[in-house]
Symmetry: C2
Subunit: 435 residues, 2 copies
């Protein structure tokens, strides 16, 4: 993509209401723009990152055997009356009436809807187990939206729902999602700590939250230091022993930790850090299958309410969490897996015909090799171009200038480390195309 034809409104100012670094950087780097309190438009660069995060989430759901579908954003209040949650859910639920005065709502979650769909479609044990998921916009009318996309009102969530014949099946479905979550966050370059959670308004008997450790997290997490020693490779190849280890190690949010009378972790091994909740999984048994009247025939001819679980990931929130975990004074430092482009190509002198021709040629070759490249071909000062590249945080910067070209070299900079290297055009292309 040529920057001269792109839409990337990078700004130097930081809006006064942006309190945390990810919010500031998302605005400065032209990723998002606020359109109402707690509601954001995703500008082209931001959408590219959002799509990459979403795709990693999707791939790990698919790998876990979950099946993708898509439920609508608007729901009927009647659905929520069947489960009894319509009156119980607080003012975070956006409620309204349509032109025929029917009560409707913008879905904050989908337990009722998926239960109704599954109830009407499935009657036999042969069609279980199943886990269905969708990635859809949700709305929660936060009383005080803040921290940009971290606590916005309209947000993108992946929510999965599992249906099993018995508790052992539910346990297996829960563990499959547990593994998917570990792999998802590891692929996003994040260290996530699974925290045993109270089940709250969704109800049930087993639940974990996944927290990214970052100083700007909204809650304090107390955990066993051994959790810090789990390697990325262990998370990616999570097996039964990894799950047993992770679920066995102590980790609690502050409020729950305070209730624990005898913490099993000795003081020298107990760590506390701030955490950003990016995922939450629940095994809640028959709460919704019973209230929504869902029954299936068992192999021996009986009838049971399926055992259900639900599994959420805050897809849009993850972008903020990734930036909180990966930035420096000059801007964002994207992990390779979610970078909007892999490389930025900087023509230092757009007014120099030879330099422009060489840059155009490199751009064409990178594109032909399938490298996602953002080409700054604008007639601007080099300093402004460097500042833009640093704030938007692409993993590599390839800098082409007249002096280097005379010597037959270009400069390759790794954003994360700041390392710069002079090398031939061919060597630079080889480096980028082998990533």
């Amino acid at each position: 993509m040529r920057l001269s034809r792109y839409f990337l409104p990078v700004t130097k100012e930081t809006p006064s209401d942006a309190q945390i670094v990810s919010h500031k950087l998302m605005l400065r780097a032209g990723l998002i723009r606020q359109t109402a309190s707690g509601i954001y438009a995703w500008l082209p660069l931001g959408l590219r990152v959002l799509n990459k995060i979403e795709q990693i989430v999707r791939e790990e759901q698919d790998k876990a055997g979950a099946i993708e579908m898509l439920m609508p954003t608007i729901q009927s209040a009647d659905l929520w009356r069947q489960s009894g949650r319509y009156d119980a859910y607080g003012p975070e639920m956006l409620r309204f009436t349509d032109r025929h005065e029917r009560e409707m709502l913008y879905g904050p979650t989908n337990e009722e809807m998926i239960a109704a769909i599954f109830r009407d479609a499935v009657k036999s044990y042969r069609d279980l187990p199943r886990t269905l998921y969708h990635i859809q916009w949700k709305f929660r009318d936060e009383v005080r939206p803040r921290f940009g996309v971290m606590r916005g009102r309209e947000f993108l969530m992946k929510d999965a729902y599992s249906f099993d014949l018995d508790e052992a099946g539910l346990q297996a479905s829960y563990e499959a999602m547990f593994v998917a979550y570990l792999r998802t966050f590891a692929r996003l370059g994040l260290q996530a700590v699974p925290v045993r959670a109270p089940t709250g308004p969704i109800g049930g008997n087993l639940s974990h939250e996944f927290h990214i450790l970052a100083d700007t997290g909204e809650s304090a997490v107390f955990y066993d230091a051994a959790l810090e020693d789990v390697s990325r490779d262990e998370l990616l190849s999570a097996d039964a022993s990894t799950i047993a280890k992770l679920t066995g190690l102590y980790a609690m949010e502050e409020e729950e930790h305070q209730k624990v009378e005898n913490c099993p972790v000795s003081a020298d091994r107990l760590r506390t850090r701030r955490g950003i909740e990016v995922g939450h999984i629940f095994a809640f048994g028959t709460k919704y299958s019973a209230s929504m009247g869902m029954t299936v025939q068992t192999r021996d001819g009986g009838q049971v309410h399926p055992q259900m679980g639900s599994y959420g990931i805050g897809v849009s929130r993850l972008m903020g969490a990734i930036i909180e975990a990966s930035h420096d004074d000059n801007g964002i430092v994207w992990p390779d897996s979610v970078a909007p482009f892999q490389a930025g190509l900087v023509n230092m002198r757009a007014d120099d015909a030879a330099c422009a021709a060489a840059s155009d040629d490199i751009y064409a070759k990178l594109q032909a090799a399938g490298v996602e490249v953002l080409y700054d071909d604008r007639d601007e000062r080099g300093g402004a171009k460097f500042a833009t590249m640093d704030v938007i945080g692409l993993p590599w910067q390839l800098i082409v200038g007249p002096k280097g070209l005379e010597k037959g070299v270009v400069e390759l900079k790794r954003r994360a480390t700041g390392e710069r290297e002079e090398l031939s055009v061919e060597a630079a292309l080889a480096r980028l195309t082998s990533q």
Copy 2:
């Protein structure tokens, strides 16, 4: 995908409120499920088709130079007060207040929001022209939702917005989208007729609707018979002469046709058919840039309101239109370009170990070759399996039975023609992997 682990609630009954064939078939084939009046959940098979349609739309937008972003579904009423449309838009706009009593709405379109974003980000002629688009859920509170996803309330729309310095630029942007639309519909296997349209509430001075000709269309279209002679190749390679030809040939919706005093088409060349509107493009000049206070500096230091256009495609509606145009008595006949899977693999005897092993082997080979295949491995009667395959309309069916295997053959059926052919497993695999 193994059907035994999929979620495909195919039904034999047709709900009584489904009046048109696409609505009936989408319900019967397990593509969608109604969750409220005019609101549908996209079941796994339906989502696969929706994603393919969306991707073709996206590729043609990108090819035309448009840049993708994503605006939120919920908008502030204040935005619409700036353009003066808040009061003018009728009861189709879903309005509500949030918990702080701020007036909000579910966006039916995005002229105001994109104008505000562009206004705040762009100040110079150097940043024009630009065309931005997004593919997002919209809501229009239809008084009488009907025809399934063809006239639903929550629907997926691609809407693009162009910004140019002058009218000549707007004309060029309009034509680029015109070409993108011709290519998009041709790739979807549809014959679309561009109809000169009145500009209506969006305002402006040049507008075309794109209609798919189908007996169940909601409006009558009168057009020059020569429009039927435009070939698919002409549409795919649309150049200036194709545009001139298509925009020059007479085509009008009934209401507009009635107003024409001297129809330029002779009676023997005038055709009339029902049309389904799947796209609508407008060049409306400075209507929104002026009302929303958008100005940019020109090359000579002056200030102008950019010339704008907007360009919509009903992405979810297209699924209904494609089915209206391509089905038979047994079910849907998907064009290859949007089929949810390219092939269905039918094991005729899941209880026969040799037949199951042979089917499993073919399934593994098709997957390894990258063929999207839905494998009916269930223990069901052959007749039920054939009926399912026909109603869901995958382009190819590969049928594996014990008798054929004894002779070393399988059966390959082309859904569109019903042609069946016996051939060796190797030959069948070669045929499917070369598609």
